[in-house]
């Protein structure tokens, strides 16, 4: 029997440094759907993203997460990635001394090995990379620089999306990919994401602002407040929020959808 959902989060509780941040999150994502998770600062949006990717600083204290029929919380971060999960970091990490292309090839090969496919040599990989870059309309100007080292904010975010394109995940979580981007950079990134949308790929787009959702139009919008999803709806919910602000959806007494 297969699960109807690619990702099914049930009553998820998580703490960081002993403080409870997620207080019963439930969310279901089918293959091919794009879900936006919105919420004010401190609502737990980024924590949710990090917990799904397996960040060691976050401790799950209750609830369950099933991904592709597996208990996600049992898997190491690298195993989650090999099973097709991808997190675009809000703050991508700089890694000195390692070129972007080597980093990406290592990641691609780790995933290929897991699938029982032969590893790509540098030349084969270069071909794959060129195809991906062409597909999203970008050049290879930062492939031979150290990973995120000295990158501008926009370059870092673009680099995350490039990794998404190359690693071809089944579930991509974008953690505030719009933060720190000017409108042109935002459009560039959103266009690339839209080209990567597919009936076989799901997205969870975490954002504070509705602005991003003008460009990446979601199927569903959820509002997170104080560690719970307090409202869910279609894409028009984002517009209502933009108009009325987050005060409109106070968690007190709100039905958890």
């Amino acid at each position: 029997m297969t699960d109807p959902f690619l990702l099914e989060i049930k009553d998820l509780h998580a703490t960081v440094e002993g403080k409870e941040i997620l207080r019963g999150v439930s969310l279901q994502v089918r293959t091919g759907e794009v879900h936006a998770v919105m919420g004010p600062n401190g609502s737990g949006k980024s924590t949710l993203a990090q917990v799904l990717a397996g960040h060691p600083a976050y401790k799950v204290t209750g609830g369950s997460v099933r991904y592709d029929g597996k208990d996600l919380l049992e898997l190491e971060p690298e195993a989650r990635a090999r099973e097709g999960m991808f997190l675009a970091f809000q703050y991508p990490v700089a890694i000195r001394g390692i070129t972007n292309s080597y980093f990406l090839r290592s990641a691609v090969n780790a995933i290929r090995k897991h699938k029982g496919e032969p590893e790509l040599d540098p030349l084969d990989f270069l071909q794959v990379l060129e195809d991906k870059l062409k597909a999203i309309g970008w050049d290879d100007s930062f492939m031979n620089r150290a990973v995120n080292e000295g990158f501008s904010g926009g370059e870092k975010k673009r680099n995350e999306i490039l990794q998404l394109a190359v690693l071809e995940p089944r579930l991509a979580i974008l953690d505030e990919t719009d933060s720190g981007l000017d409108i042109d950079a935002l459009k560039t990134v959103a266009q690339a994401v839209n080209m990567l949308r597919s009936p076989l790929r799901s997205f969870v787009v975490v954002t504070h602002y509705q602005r991003l959702l003008n460009y990446i139009v979601p199927d569903y919008v959820h509002v997170l407040a104080e560690g719970r999803i307090v409202k869910s709806g279609g894409k028009e919910l984002a517009l209502t929020l933009e108009e009325k602000g987050y005060d409109w959806v106070k968690p007190e007494g709100a039905a958890v959808s």
Partner: protein, 408 residues
């Protein structure tokens, strides 16, 4: 403690050293006199606080000539053994040797000068642009028990000339040995030198070295030193920017394990205005190894518009490895920009998570981050052969396979 070494000197001075010109013999005599006066430094001395050289003092080392291996000499440069240079370029040698690395500064320089005989002289004439790098490998030949070598290197790059030099130090992998090396580097106005020093002696080798550079106006020196071998390594690097607009890049990388100990003492002196220096030292310490970095920057009165930056990052791969980092800024001019920063710690957990979140396994992620720490320095080596060779050695040491180098 010094008696054995003085005895070695007397045997040397009374025997094989007689052929040298009087000024060399006099220089040696001053060297041994100074060494006899001060002896081996103790850890009570501030400069030697973290590095105990008493084991060296207690070993009956035997003076030994090294073998210099040089590749073909590229057009535009001369490379001669010191003995030949003393005959063919006596004025050049006399004008420079012992002028920069002062006996009074360091007891080991005094000792090395007492035994001055064994060396190489690189000379590049004004305006010459030497394309191919000059390779010098200094090797202690097998045969003697407890060999002690005092290799001396003099590099003189005249006005406007450009050259690349690799100096490598090798010793038998197993035996007890002492290398006490002194390199003096002179860059005249507008000269450019890229110098790469590779030290990969055996596990029981003691390696003491001084690299002393003196730069003229608008000259440019890029010096990278990589320490991989040795039981104990102490390297003093003293760079004097003695001309307006002089430019220095000083890079260092140590990759140690076991009980190895490395101590880098660097002093950069900005003596004239508009000088620029960038210093990047990285250390990777595994096992019970220990690293010491002391980075002194002196901006002399009048050296206005000096721009000096120092960075020292130390990666500890085990709970018992240790690194000490001490910056020392002494600024006597008011219009200068000097910054320094240092880190000591284990691999960054956030960076590890980032790599794992892309599917890279924990072991490989650790290897990649560690290698990156070294590659960060190697990427600054612009001598292609040296860059690739060091890359292979660092990978081998860290057990990181198949890392392609970044675009050359």
């Amino acid at each position: 403690m010094t008696a054995h070494f003085v005895g070695q000197y007397e045997a040397f001075a009374g025997n094989g050293a007689a052929g040298a010109p009087p000024w060399v013999r006099e220089l040696r005599a001053r060297g041994i006199a100074r060494f006899t006066e001060v002896g081996f430094p103790s850890t009570r001395s501030e400069q030697w606080r973290f590095t105990n050289v008493q084991p060296i003092a207690e070993i009956a080392f035997q003076r030994q000539m090294v073998r210099w291996e040089t590749g073909p000499t590229p057009t535009g440069a001369t490379v001669l053994p010191l003995s030949q240079a003393l005959q063919r370029q006596p004025d050049l040698v006399r004008a420079h040797i012992g002028r920069y690395a002062l006996l009074e500064e360091n007891p080991f320089t005094a000792l090395a000068t007492a035994f001055l005989a064994d060396g190489a002289v690189v000379h590049v004439r004004a305006g010459a642009v030497v394309e191919e790098p000059i390779h010098l490998t200094c090797r202690i030949p097998p045969g003697t028990a407890r060999p002690m070598a005092h290799p001396r290197l003099l590099i003189v790059v005249e006005r406007g000339a450009q050259v690349k030099v690799v100096e490598a130090y090798e010793a038998a992998p197993a035996g007890l040995s002492l290398t006490n090396a002194v390199t003096e580097v002179v860059l005249e106005d507008g000269a450019q030198l890229e110098l790469c020093r590779e030290q990969r002696e055996g596990e029981r080798s003691y390696h003491i070295a001084t690299t002393q550079s003196h730069q003229g106006r608008d000259s440019r020196l890029v010096f990278t030193t990589v320490a991989l071998g040795g039981a104990l390594v102490r390297h003093d690097i003293n760079a004097v920017l003695d001309g307006t607009g002089a430019y220095l890049i000083l890079n260092g990388l140590s990759v140690l394990r076991g009980h190895q100990h490395v101590d880098h003492h660097t002093t950069i002196v900005h003596a004239k205005p508009h000088g620029e220096s960038h210093e990047y030292f990285n250390g990777v310490f595994d096992g019970e190894s220990r690293g010491v970095f002391n980075g002194r920057i002196i901006v002399r009165p009048g050296a206005q518009r000096t721009d000096s930056k120092q960075t020292n990052n130390n990666l500890l791969l085990s709970d018992v490895a240790r690194a000490d980092s001490q910056p020392q800024l002494e600024i006597y001019a008011d219009d200068v920009k000097c910054t320094h920063g240092s880190t000591v710690g284990p691999l960054d957990e956030t960076a590890l998570f980032y790599l794992k979140s892309r599917g890279i396994g924990a072991m490989e992620a650790r290897g990649l981050l560690t290698y990156g720490f070294g590659a960060d320095i190697l990427d600054r080596v612009a001598i292609p052969g040296a860059r690739a060779r060091l890359d292979r050695q660092i990978r081998h040491r860290l057990g990181v396979p198949d890392v392609e180098t970044s675009a050359a």
